[in-house]
């Protein structure tokens, strides 16, 4: 597939946004059980939510560049019964809305106990809205992942690993961002976030590498033989019917050599997993704002490469029909 920068930014930005929210909410949940010190909502969760919204907004903005007719984007909510893309289009603003509410509650500091489940644990608006947003965050990961995973003939994508990786890579980058953010805004949480970030980064590494290994062993179900229905071991395309290119040669090909692909793969493995893991492990000993922010930026850059590779590696069966220049 042709890696479109609109979609690369969309998926990486909202992934980090969702991850950051999940980090904020996790910290609050821990605090609700008294496992972590509570934070000043106006200083941490409020700005944190704003950051989530900015990431989501930027992702959303990027997505518009993917559309031929962005002014009609609202129509995309229509087919939620069948289309994961439509579901994403619904869930994404719902998530943003709930994050907005969540952030507003924190910023206003409005959190009366609505009910008490135990002496130590009160059901509060922040927790309720947060829970909803958490569910929406996961739903959004699933929607985004399923947009790709549901395309059964793009075999590289058609696996639960796609959804898992969207979740793990998004949450990892979100938690790294949370760690960096906390190191400036809530220093007593930086260990907590750094630890989670390291764990998620390592988990993401496991599953992303698993996906790579799976994809390496894939045999394409479609072949030239099934594509044109001629049973002969040696078939070569001599003409694709035009010479100046078409939508089909632009949309489904990355246009890069195998060397570039390999290079990008090693680059993202280093930037998303190896270097952040080392940096996070170091930070665990002595968290510091600078290195943590650097870690986030490094990993995010890596995620851009990862997402580019995710698209580039996907081999669409339609390409069987478009392999000749003559």
């Amino acid at each position: 597939m042709h890696p479109a920068f609109s979609v690369i930014f969309l998926t990486t930005l909202i992934g980090a946004g969702q991850g950051l929210f999940l980090a904020l909410y996790t910290a609050q949940s821990y605090a609700a059980f008294g496992l972590l010190p509570a934070q000043d909502g106006a200083a941490f969760h409020g700005p944190g939510s704003l950051m989530v919204l900015l990431l989501m907004g930027a992702g959303l903005a990027a997505s518009f560049f993917h559309l031929g007719r962005p002014e009609r984007a609202w129509r995309a909510a229509a087919q939620w019964r069948t289309s994961w893309l439509s579901r994403e289009v619904i869930v994404l603003p719902a998530f943003m809305g709930s994050v907005f509410l969540y952030g507003l509650l924190h910023w206003l500091g409005w959190n009366p106990a609505l009910a008490r489940l135990s002496p130590d644990f009160a059901v509060s608006p922040q927790m309720l809205v947060g829970s909803a947003a958490m569910l929406l965050a996961f739903a959004l990961f699933v929607c985004t992942g399923m947009i790709y995973a549901c395309l059964r003939f793009i075999q590289e994508w058609h696996t639960p690993l796609t959804v898992i990786n969207f979740i793990l890579l998004g949450t990892a980058s979100g938690f790294v961002l949370a760690a960096a953010f906390s190191s400036t805004a809530a220093p007593d949480l930086d260990h907590f976030f750094t630890g989670w970030a390291l764990a998620l980064t390592l988990a993401a590494a496991v599953f992303r590498v698993a996906a790579l290994m799976r994809n390496r062993r894939l045999t394409p179900r479609s072949t030239l033989q099934t594509a044109i229905g001629v049973k002969h071991p040696r078939i070569a395309q001599k003409s694709q019917g035009f010479l100046g290119g078409s939508f089909n040669t632009r949309e489904f090909f990355h246009g890069q050599g195998a060397g570039v692909l390999r290079g990008v793969k090693w680059l993202f493995l280093a930037l998303v997993f190896v270097l952040p893991a080392i940096l996070l492990a170091t930070a665990l000993a002595e968290p510091a704002a600078g290195p943590l922010w650097a870690t986030f930026l490094l990993q995010y850059a890596g995620l851009l490469a990862e997402r580019w590779f995710f698209f580039a590696q996907a081999n669409h069966p339609q390409n069987l029909y478009y392999q000749a220049v003559a």
Binding site: A236, K238, G241, F242, L243, G244, V325, A326
Partner: protein, 970 residues
């Protein structure tokens, strides 16, 4: 969005449907043009039209993009004073100025030496009119593109069976069981052949394709027989060898309908050596074979007049006449000729295994013999034998460019025609069938003047500009035996050059050999690019000057509808219309669109207004002819006879009161006659009402065996299709060629060839087909240049015409050189890499494409895709010029100097057919530092005044809204 089908398409704007004839190629299908608000909405095949029956090819379906092409010339242009020829600097002038200028200049030439004016035309479909114009002018220097197209096919077959493929005849695939296609040009007669081949395959016939390349029609062949280019003659001769050896020939057909059984004089001392023995002098001489020859009677073992009732002649044997003259039946001579042409011999030449050649011969012979068709159609032959049925041997052949474009093509095509004859397939069901006005006598009657005195000031030419020589006395040469025509047609160099040699006109005129021209008028021929051999040199010649600073070709007029490479070299450019803007006729006097079952001709009627100041070239000719007071165009008082072209078509008669004109339908005052009748003032209207064509279906008994069908021949004579109702016996043995050979041997007292040409004429004018290596190969180190290079015709392009077409050019924006992977590997050329292909004449850098459907000794490319920068309305960086290429740069228009002359054309030595496919090449990879661009490149052509210069980044064609909508949101 409105639901589909809410409103009928014809309710979207003002809808009109007009019927006319396509001209996106030479096929001439009937079309219905739908217009919306005056713009072309949709062009569909006319379902009622006999030729295409409603279908339409890729080109025909892209007519819209030709009509609105930015390559259109729209104003008459004159080379700017002081601007160099070829620089493309023009000023616009009025048509009045054009006519004044031309009438003055041409009038002066006509009054002094008419041959200083030459008119050569390309892919035009009005040769009856252009030929008439030239003849009336008085110049011998006229031809259309046939000489560099397929004159070998026309001449080889017409000199053998009295008809030819394409317009003049073709394979009867409705009833054939075996179809053998040997090379073809897929842009010729394309839709009828596509319809027929698919029906044939559906009916379960076997389709064999013999071709170095498997594309196009060959793709769907049941068997592909790859062959080395230029060796088809060897294959046919081996097939004939095998058929004769096994007795797999149609004996009755050969004896009755060919000269196979006629006795040939073999008296070495006689001036009649190699001629048929005649028993009497015919009472009337004409262009027909008098029935005065002898057979050898099998029963009585003595000579007897041919077609003596009840006599069965010998085909084989050696006999002596009463005066002891040794004689043999022509068939015996053929048998002796092919003795050495064994399948094993041919295998070494053609690359086809001997067992395959044998099997092919068996399949042909047995299918012809055992799957006979017998139609219950009674007919009478010219010898008054009544036949209760028409019999057919269902083996059909088709061939075109592959055979024709070699210097051994004429003899190869003779061999093929004889093979078809041995199988008994001529004008019979399931075999080859004629189309009116064919069959014609062998050779047809038309003759050129036979000496320089035929060219007279202020007088029409004393003969036709093109003709069919029957003997040396018909040649168009002076007392020294040297040519009168600028292209040396009908001279001893190319005696049977029935279509002229347009490919040598510019070189000859430039060199002044045989003389200089004053004005050269080129219509629709891209002689500065793909229609010429040796393109780069010819471009130089076009703009070359004498020591005194005058152009060596003093005045060049180019008439074309499009900004071709040729227009840049014009002194005067005459903008022609497109086919949708003009009247036209596909005339019985020219190349009509007849069907097997009878004559068909057709017309074009304008469907849109001419663009800008475009004027149909026909109107230019009528105007000039009238101004120059040609006898055919003015009355006795010198008053103009014809208002315009449509008026000319209605009222012109080949001779006063002949009743024969350009159109054959609805003749007679009220349109009640056909073929022959008085002019009908409402003829155009009647054609229009009938979908633009006239189809006269012959009675069934006239549809077959027409060479010998008394009913048909009498009918044809009565309707002016032929002059004689005499049998047209097949020339298995060609006396015509023998006459030229005898002259060359100095045995006869006819005109003699110049000494330098004696050996050449003697060698090639062989009365029986033989195989020889193409001339260029004979004169080239084939170890250094081991490969053959040929072109194929893409079905979605017609010559150079469609690179200007926004839709078609997307399919073939540039071309590759196709090469077998092993050949490429041996030369180190990677698939898709830049490579060089080099002949002894030049070299071309191009892109390689490995192909398993290419014979390993052959490289090929699509024809005429490469363009000069800036030509045809294209941007200078268009693929056609940056990656596209021509093979023409590798091909010389002249042979290397040798015994027969310094400047002989690179052509068939009999017909002068351009030997495009003879070129020998070698290939090697392009260097890593070379530019990724085809070579050679030329300076970019400038757009001409009056052309649309805006090249939109994009457009979206919508009929009724298109004008001015480019580049904006639709």
């Amino acid at each position: 969005m409105e639901l589909p089908g809410t409103r009928p398409d014809q309710d979207l704007g003002r809808h009109e449907v007009k019927t006319t004839t396509c001209y996106m190629c030479a096929c001439r299908c009937g079309i219905r043009v739908h217009l919306r608000d005056g713009e072309v909405r949709f062009i569909e095949g006319n379902p009622d039209h006999p030729l295409n029956r409603g279908v339409l090819c890729a080109k025909g379906s892209s007519g819209i993009m030709k009509q609105y092409s930015p390559a259109r010339l729209t104003r008459p242009l004159r080379r700017k004073a002081g601007a160099e020829r070829g620089a493309g600097e023009f000023e616009t002038i009025s048509w009045d100025t054009v006519f004044d200028l031309l009438a003055e200049r041409l009038g002066r030439i006509r009054a002094s030496d008419p041959k200083k004016f030459a008119l050569f035309t390309g892919r035009d479909q009005m040769q009856a009119l252009t030929g008439l114009f030239a003849r009336q002018f008085g110049t011998p220097n006229y031809a259309a593109h046939g000489g560099f197209c397929s004159v070998n096919m026309a001449a080889g077959m017409i000199y053998t069976i009295g008809g030819s493929f394409w317009e003049f005849g073709g394979p009867d695939l409705d009833r054939a069981k075996l179809f053998v296609m040997i090379g073809t040009a897929e842009d010729h007669h394309s839709n009828p052949l596509k319809i027929a081949i698919s029906q044939f395959k559906r009916n379960g016939g076997k389709f064999i394709s013999i071709n170095p390349v498997r594309t196009g029609y060959s793709a769907i062949a049941d068997e592909w027989v790859p062959i080395r280019p230029g060796t088809d003659g060897a294959l046919f001769l081996a097939l004939i060898h095998e058929l004769i050896r096994l007795g797999l020939y149609d004996r009755d057909f050969l004896t009755q309908y060919s000269n196979a059984a006629e006795l040939v004089n073999l008296d070495e001392g006689s001036s009649e050596y190699g001629m048929f023995v005649r028993f009497e002098v015919p009472p009337e001489e004409g262009c027909f074979d008098p029935q005065n020859k002898l057979w050898w009677d099998r029963e009585l073992n003595r000579p007897v007049g041919t077609h003596t009732p009840g006599v069965e002649p010998r085909l084989l044997g050696e006999f002596h006449l009463a005066d002891d003259t040794p004689v043999k039946p022509a068939f015996q001579l053929l048998k002796e000729r092919v003795e050495a042409y064994t399948p094993e011999w041919a295998a070494g030449i053609t690359g086809i295994p001997a067992e395959t050649i044998r099997r092919l011969a068996h399949e042909m012979g047995i299918t012809a013999r055992d799957r006979k068709i017998e139609l219950p159609i009674a007919w009478t032959d010219v010898w008054d034998n009544e036949h209760r049925t028409v019999v057919g041997n269902p083996v059909a052949f088709h061939a075109m460019r592959g055979l024709a474009a070699h210097s051994n093509g004429f003899q190869t095509i003779r061999a093929m025609s004889i093979l078809m004859t041995l199988l008994g397939t001529i004008d019979r069901p399931g075999g080859f069938r004629h189309k009116a006005p064919f069959p014609r006598p062998i050779p047809p009657c038309a003759k050129t003047p036979n000496g320089p005195e035929g060219v007279r000031p202020d007088m029409p030419l004393d003969g036709m500009p093109l003709g069919w020589p029957a003997d040396p006395d018909d040649l168009f040469v002076d007392a020294a035996g040297e040519p009168v025509r600028i292209d040396k047609g009908f001279s001893w160099e190319y005696p049977l050059s029935a279509h002229g040699l347009m490919h040598n006109v510019i070189t000859n005129a430039w060199r002044g050999d045989p003389y200089r021209l004053d004005t050269l008028l080129i219509f629709m021929a891209n002689m500065a690019w793909n229609s010429t051999m040796n393109t780069a040199e010819v471009r130089r010649m076009l703009a070359d000057k004498d020591e005194d600073g005058e152009y060596r070709i003093p005045f060049l007029v180019v008439a074309d509808a499009f900004h071709s490479e040729m227009t840049a070299f014009a002194d005067l450019v005459l903008p022609d219309t497109t086919y949708l803007e003009r009247h036209d006729v596909m005339s019985m006097l020219d190349r009509p669109i007849s069907e097997f079952d009878g004559p068909v001709d057709s017309v074009r009627i304008p469907v849109v207004e001419p663009t800008g100041e475009c004027k149909p070239f026909q109107e230019v000719l009528i105007e000039l002819g009238s101004r120059l007071k040609f006898p055919a165009f003015v009355d006795k008082q010198g008053k103009r006879k014809f208002r315009d072209y449509p008026d000319f078509i209605v009222n012109y008669e080949t001779a006063p009161g002949s009743g024969i004109g350009f159109l054959s339908g609805w003749r007679g005052r009220g349109g009640e006659k056909f073929l022959r009748g008085e002019p009908n003032p409402r003829q155009w209207e009647m054609y229009a009402r009938n979908g633009g064509y006239y189809h006269h279906e012959l009675p069934r008994s006239y549809q077959y065996m027409r060479n010998w069908n008394k009913g048909y021949l009498t009918w044809a004579r009565a309707h002016g299709l032929t002059r004689y109702a005499e049998p047209i016996n097949i020339h298995v043995y060609s006396e015509v060629l023998q006459k030229f050979r005898l002259a060359a041997q100095g045995r006869t007292d006819t005109r003699q060839p110049p000494d330098r040409l004696r050996k050449r004429v003697e060698t090639y004018c062989d009365p029986l087909p033989f195989y020889h290596e193409p001339l260029e190969s004979q004169l080239t180190d084939t170890r250094r240049y081991p490969l053959n290079a040929v072109t194929q015709r893409p079905m979605a392009m017609y010559h150079s015409w469609d690179s200007q077409n926004a839709w078609l050019r997307q399919i073939h924006a540039h071309n590759h050189l196709y090469i077998h992977p092993k050949t490429a590997a041996a030369a180190g050329i990677a698939d898709g890499a830049w490579m060089w292909v080099e002949s002894r004449w030049g070299r071309v850098r191009c892109l390689a494409c490995h192909s398993e459907s290419t014979e390993p000794g052959t490289v090929w490319t699509w024809n005429a895709i490469g363009k000069a920068k800036g030509a045809w309305g294209l941007a200078p960086d268009a693929n056609e010029s940056s990656k596209g290429f021509l093979l023409n740069h590798l091909i010389s228009e002249e042979l290397p100097p040798h015994d027969a002359g310094e400047h002989l054309s690179n052509s068939d030595p009999i017909t002068g057919q351009a030997a495009w496919y003879d070129v020998r090449v070698r290939v090697y990879p392009a260097g890593p530092d070379e530019p990724a661009e085809s070579f050679p490149q030329f300076a970019a052509m400038k757009p001409a005044p009056g052309m649309t210069t805006a090249r939109p980044k994009w457009f979206a064609y919508v009929a009724g809204k298109f004008a001015g909508a480019s580049g904006k949101e639709p």
